[in-house]
Structures are given as C-alpha cells and as structure tokens.
C-alpha cells in the first residue's frame, strides 16, 4: 500500500519542523528519509504514523485520507529509535502485546508470535527480558512486535542509530533481505547516507524541514540537486570563485563549465569529490600545482592530503592503493591535481546565505 504526504507543515512553537512537504512512498517500496539532525525527518515519520498531528496538509494510505485518524487506528508498525520495548515484559509478551490489546486470545497469539520470532531469528530468547538482550536483539524484537499486528506499512525511526558499527552493518543487510521477503511499504529515517544508500530503494534528502531531493541512491549521489545534497553525501573539496563565460575562475586557475555558459556570478562554489581528483606528475592547463602533505594508505582507498600553496588551501584526494603505489608519492613533493569531474552550484540570491558554511 502506498503512502502519500501532501503539503504537510508542522511547527513546534516558533520552530518549523516540516515546511510544506509532499512525498509519496510507492507500494512495496523501501524509502529512506535522510538528513542531518533537526531536518524534520523524524517528525515527518511521526506525522505519517499519527504520533504527531500535522498543522496543515494531509496523509493518505493508498486512496484513504488518514489525517484525522489516531495512531491506534492507522494500523502501522512503528519501530522506535531506542526500540521502546516494554521493559517489564519478556520477548514473548512484548511481541504478543499488539495482538492481546486487540482482543486476540488463545493459541493463535502464541503461534503468530512464534512465527515472528522465527522470522527475526530470536526463537531461543522468548523468555528473556529487554534488559537481558543486546542492542541488535532488542532491535529485532521491536521489529517483530511492530509486525505482529500485520500492519499495512512499516515505519522505522533511526533503526540502526543506537547500535555499534559492526552490528549496524549486519542488521541493515538483514533488514534489506527481510524487506525483500515481506515486501511491505516501509519508510525509515536515518542520518547516515551509507545506510540509506545501501538499504533503500529511494532516498529523500531532507534539510530544514524540506525535501531537497528525492530519487534512487544512484541518482542522488551522481546528480545532487544542490549544494546541500552535495555536501551531505560525503567528503567534498569546495573551491569558491567566479563563473563567467562558461568558465570557472578559481584564483589564477580556470576550469571549463559549459553547462553554466550563460551565467556570470562572483560567488559560485565548485565542488569536487576526493575520488574525482587525479594526481599527475606533469603540469598542464586545468591542473593545479600542490605539495603533498600527508599520505594515508591504509585500506582499499588511499587518501592524500595536499596543499596548494599559491592559494593557501588544502585538498583531499582519494585513489585506489594500486594507483598510489604506481605514483610513489613522497611527502613534500610538488604534483599537479586534475579534476575529472566538477560540479558548480550557482547560488540563487535567497540561497546564497545558506549554502556556503554548512558543516556537520
């Protein structure tokens, strides 16, 4: 069943948590709401679940307007950030809770609960209490509990946020497999772009209560809609300069930007991802001379920090270790940095104040 949010606004006092957002999750899709803290992603999820009431706008499940319906009657499965397991009940009772309060009695409950515990691979722990479980196990109990009432949609608030790195990676692969098994329309909130890209079918990048971009992970990463998205999705080198006549002027250094042939602005920002920079030994036009400051070769990707002394700025470059070995860089040596791919974001007048100094 599809979920649609239409023109939803939610304020807390003077703070606008969601600002006129419209969004649709297709039937059977796994959609990620990705954004920094305070971007309104959790509030949006809670509005969808009915745990918060929108000030304006409407929420639809399939063709049905559920805006005025309480969380109890929306029949959603909601997984809380800290799982919110009932601490005085064991695993079995936790999962059975939703069925019991809906008046289901007898062996049906136990049978359904056992099925779910099998699904989340926790059969052996049904008598344990939440405090006796690890973070990953609690997470799966929360998921089983949410699925017990056979919800029409599944909503997850930072499902992996409170786990340590290793468990987090395992669980998100598991969640992806689970989603392929049960194919329920699901929306999850995360601030981790890696997580969103790995698990979700589509990603909505949120900032300051708005959706900046919506698309498949590939689309969003390869074609960021604006400077915010570019910043948010990983490390990036930023050069500030002027765009004029289809060229970006960065100090004494020029780059071709044919797609911006008709603009003339003095405060454009040029973005280059560290892996989209190449290091060359020879000088050429469009190559920036820089001195090697540090080389980190641990892991599959080598990171090189350079300093372009003419401009007094530091540049980060990433490359495969094989390439680094072939180059045999020495600290202090002068090389030439060539961008393979650049993106120029010309700030609109209104956006000019927002874009440059965003950092997390």
């Amino acid at each position: 069943m599809s979920i649609a949010v239409r023109n939803v606004t939610k304020r807390f006092g003077n703070f606008t948590a969601i600002d006129d957002v419209s969004l649709e999750a297709h039937s059977g899709e796994l959609l990620a709401l990705l954004g920094p803290s305070g971007s309104g992603k959790t509030t949006l999820l809670r509005v969808i679940a009915g745990l918060e009431a929108a000030d304006r706008g409407s929420v639809h499940y399939h063709d049905e307007d559920v805006t005025r319906r309480s969380a109890r009657d929306r029949n959603v499965g909601f997984v809380f950030q800290h799982y919110a397991l009932f601490r005085h009940m064991n695993v079995l009772e936790n999962v059975a809770f939703g069925l019991r309060v809906r008046g289901v009695r007898g062996p049906t409950v136990t049978q359904r609960v056992r099925e779910l515990l099998h699904l989340v691979r926790l059969e052996s722990l049904e008598r344990r209490y939440p405090s006796q479980l690890s973070g990953g196990q609690r997470q799966r109990v929360a998921l089983a509990r949410a699925l017990a009432v056979q919800p029409k949609v599944l909503l997850l608030d930072e499902p992996f946020g409170a786990l340590d790195a290793k468990v987090r990676v395992e669980l998100r692969q598991w969640l992806r497999r689970l989603h392929e098994e049960i194919h329920m329309t699901s929306v999850f909130v995360t601030h981790d772009q890696e997580e969103a890209f790995e698990v979700a079918d589509r990603v909505a990048v949120m900032n300051q209560g708005r959706i900046e971009q919506l698309g498949s992970p590939q689309e969003v990463f390869d074609h960021p809609a604006n400077a915010f998205v570019m910043h948010f999705l990983g490390n990036v080198n930023v050069f500030h300069g002027r765009v004029h006549d289809g060229k970006a002027h960065l100090g004494g250094f020029e780059l071709e930007v044919p797609e911006h042939a008709d603009v003339d602005v003095s405060a454009a920002a040029v973005y280059v991802r560290p892996h989209e920079l190449a290091i060359e030994r020879s000088a050429a036009s469009g190559r920036l001379p820089a001195r090697v400051v540090r080389v980190h070769a641990a892991g599959p990707v080598a990171k090189v920090a350079l300093r372009a002394e003419d401009f007094g700025l530091e540049i980060q470059v990433e490359m495969p270790v094989e390439r680094l070995a072939a180059l045999a860089l020495a600290t202090g040596e002068v090389v030439y940095v060539a961008p393979r791919r650049i993106r120029v974001f010309v700030p609109e007048a209104a956006e000019a104040a927002l874009t440059p100094e965003y950092a997390i």
Partner: protein
C-alpha cells in the same frame, strides 16, 4: 570587482553518526574506557543512594566511595583493569585511597560528632518512648492501648482517615504527574508550583483555611448547616486536612520517574492498538510501580502522623475526632504518661516499619530509574 578568493572547506560526513548517538561519551573515547563507564555510573548511583538514605555511621569507607564520581571513577576503574591485564604489580589504587584520607584525629572527631548527635537526637528518644510505654509492664501496655475506648477509637479513626486521604492523593498524584511529565500546556509550571504549596504552608494555617471555608461562620457554613452536613469537627474535615498536607508526596515522587522513563513505551503501545486505559494499566503503572509505592508509603506515614492541620479542624472531641497523634497529646496533657507513651510507641513502630520499607523501595525506585537510563544508552558489548 574584488579579487576572486579561493577557499577550501573539508566536510567530513563520517563524523556525524557518532556525534548524534546518545552514548553521552565523547566520540574520541576508546571502547576500553566505554565499558567501565557503565560500572562507574553504577558505583556512583549506589553511593548516591547510600548518602541519600542518611547513613553516616559507616564512616570513612562510605565517604571515600561517595567521592568516587564521574571521571575519577572512570580513570580508576579503567586503570585498575589495565593493571590487571598487564599484570604489573603496582599500588596506585591504595595510594589513591590514602590521598583521600584525613588524619586520624579528624576522622575520630567527625565520627564522634555524627554518632553523638545521632545518639542524643534520635536513638535515645526513640528508645525512651518504648521504655516509658513498657515501664509498667506488658499487661498495662495492652490495657493502655486497647482497653481505653477513646484510644481504641483514635486508632480506628486514623485507620480510616489516612487510607482515604492516601487514596484520594493517589488518584490526584498519578493524574497530575502524568499531565506534567507528558504534556506541555499553559499553566503547567503553575501546576507544578501549586503541588508544592502544601509543603510550604504551615499545617496550622492549612487547618485554619478549612475552618474559614467550611466552619459555621465560613463561606460555605450556612449552606452546610442548612443541609445538615458536618465538615469541621467531623470526619470529612479530618480527611480534607490530611489530604491537603499530604498532597505533594505522590506527584512529587512520580514526576521524575515518568520523565526518566519517557513517553516512547506508551506511544509504542498506542501504535500497537492499545487504548488509554490499557496503556495506563499495562504499560505506565507497571513501569512506575516502585516509585508509586514509595510515594504512597511517604504519603501514608505523613497522613497517620499529621498533627497541626488535623488539630485545628478536629475540635478535640474524644471518641469522635481524635486521631492517634491528637490522642497522644491529650493523654499527655492529662498526665496519663504511660497511656500517652503506649500510643506513641505504636506510631513509632509505624515509623520504623516505614523506614525499612522506604529503604527497600528507594532502592527499587533507583533501579527503575537506572534501567530507564540503561535502555536508552548504546549497547557496547553486542
């Protein structure tokens, strides 16, 4: 046009996740120091619990433990672990303890002062009550308690007034604490302050205001007389006065517990289809049960022992409006010292039972809070 400037900003997204998780531990801390943190919090919590119970008699050991808080504890525990692993024989720990210790004469003086004042102010008076009560023998003690109809009535009256007042405050306390901890509404801070008001008002004044309202010459006096309803100098007045002075206990105890537990479990229950009453009975009350019992206990102890407010509204009618504390006073004023002390010993017994239960419940409440905190922190071992 100004000179085109060049600027480089490194934005590292990967630092974000650790910053927004809720460990409460600096991201830079290594896992080795993360694990002992939980132990140290437990130590700190335990030592806080003991100091709160007012246990001064255990001396320097307790004092040393109570000062182990925060970073000191982390360093201490982690260094102890590191030592154990490296198997390097050092005496860092004992040195550390010595550094915290005062000279012998200081310790003896302080312990002497504490024990002395405790003896003089608490232990001797308490022992004396029982001594006086039993001085004429067990038989006389029994006679004094249960063969004097007025004394018997006072016990019975207290057993009616106190539970009624506690029951009323239980309903009010849970409702008020729930409203204050879970909702933001206009007048919320005013309500929080109002709940504390009975603590600030002298009980005598509390009694007087009831007389001014419900007494014969009070605002409602004529109306009440017309309908033949007795409030002042009767049971309803006693209950009202007791309710007023014990109003804050339950709400005060519950607000921090509810706030620590947070609304998530209740919201989870709602999203699973539970109705309001189901949430209250199946989720909220089980979670706050120890804090609630603790509040009831304190409320009950105060309700049974209340003197000032009840004194004003009672009219001192023996066999009708004398609760136990009032009866103790009357017997004493009437030179019936053994009778007075016999009844006083009963109140004292109640106090001692309360104290034991209070210690137990306080520990349970602390555990309730600690568990709430634990379920909200990151799991390290998994």
């Amino acid at each position: 046009m100004s000179e085109p400037h060049l600027q480089f900003v490194a934005h590292d997204r990967r630092a974000a996740p650790s910053a927004s998780t809720t460990t409460g531990v600096p991201a830079a801390a290594s896992t080795r120091t993360l694990v002992p943190l939980r132990q140290s919090t437990r130590i700190a919590a335990r030592s806080l619990g003991t100091t709160r119970a007012g246990d001064l008699t255990s001396g320097p050991g307790l004092r040393a433990r109570a000062t182990v808080t925060g970073t000191a504890a982390i360093e201490q525990v982690s260094s102890a672990r590191a030592e154990a692993r490296d198997a390097v024989p050092t005496n860092d720990l004992s040195n550390w303890k010595n550094a915290q210790q005062d000279p012998l004469w200081v310790r003896l003086t302080l312990i002497g002062l504490a024990v002395g004042s405790l003896l003089l102010l608490v232990i001797i008076p308490v022992a004396n009550v029982f001594y006086q009560a039993l001085s004429a023998g067990l038989h006389a003690y029994w006679d004094n308690l249960f063969n004097d109809p007025d004394t018997r009535h006072s016990i019975w009256l207290t057993l009616i007034v106190a539970p009624t007042a506690v029951g009323a405050n239980l309903v009010f306390g849970v409702a008020a604490a729930w409203a204050i901890a879970r909702f933001r509404f206009p007048g919320r801070s005013a309500l929080t302050t109002l709940i504390d008001l009975p603590f600030a008002i002298s009980p005598v004044v509390a009694g007087l205001q009831l007389v001014l309202l419900f007494g014969l010459r009070g605002y409602f006096g004529p109306w009440l007389r017309e309908h033949d309803i007795h409030v002042i100098f009767a049971l309803p007045g006693l209950i009202l006065a007791t309710m007023f002075v014990t109003l804050p206990f339950i709400a005060r105890e519950l607000i921090p517990v509810l706030e620590a537990i947070g609304p998530d479990e209740e919201l989870a229950a709602v999203s699973l289809g539970a109705r309001g009453w189901q949430v209250l009975w199946k989720i909220t009350l089980p979670n706050i049960k120890w804090g609630l019992l603790y509040g009831i206990l304190l409320c009950n102890a105060r309700a049974m022992g209340e003197f000032g407010a009840v004194y004003v509204v009672s009219g001192h009618i023996p066999g009708q409006t004398q609760t136990m504390p009032l009866r103790v006073d009357r017997l004493f004023q009437g030179y019936n010292t053994p009778g007075s002390f016999a009844l006083a010993s009963l109140l004292m017994l109640l106090a001692l039972v309360t104290l034991v239960l209070k210690t137990v419940l306080e520990r349970r409440t602390q555990r309730e809070l600690a568990e709430a905190a634990k379920l909200h922190t990151v799991e390290i071992e998994s």
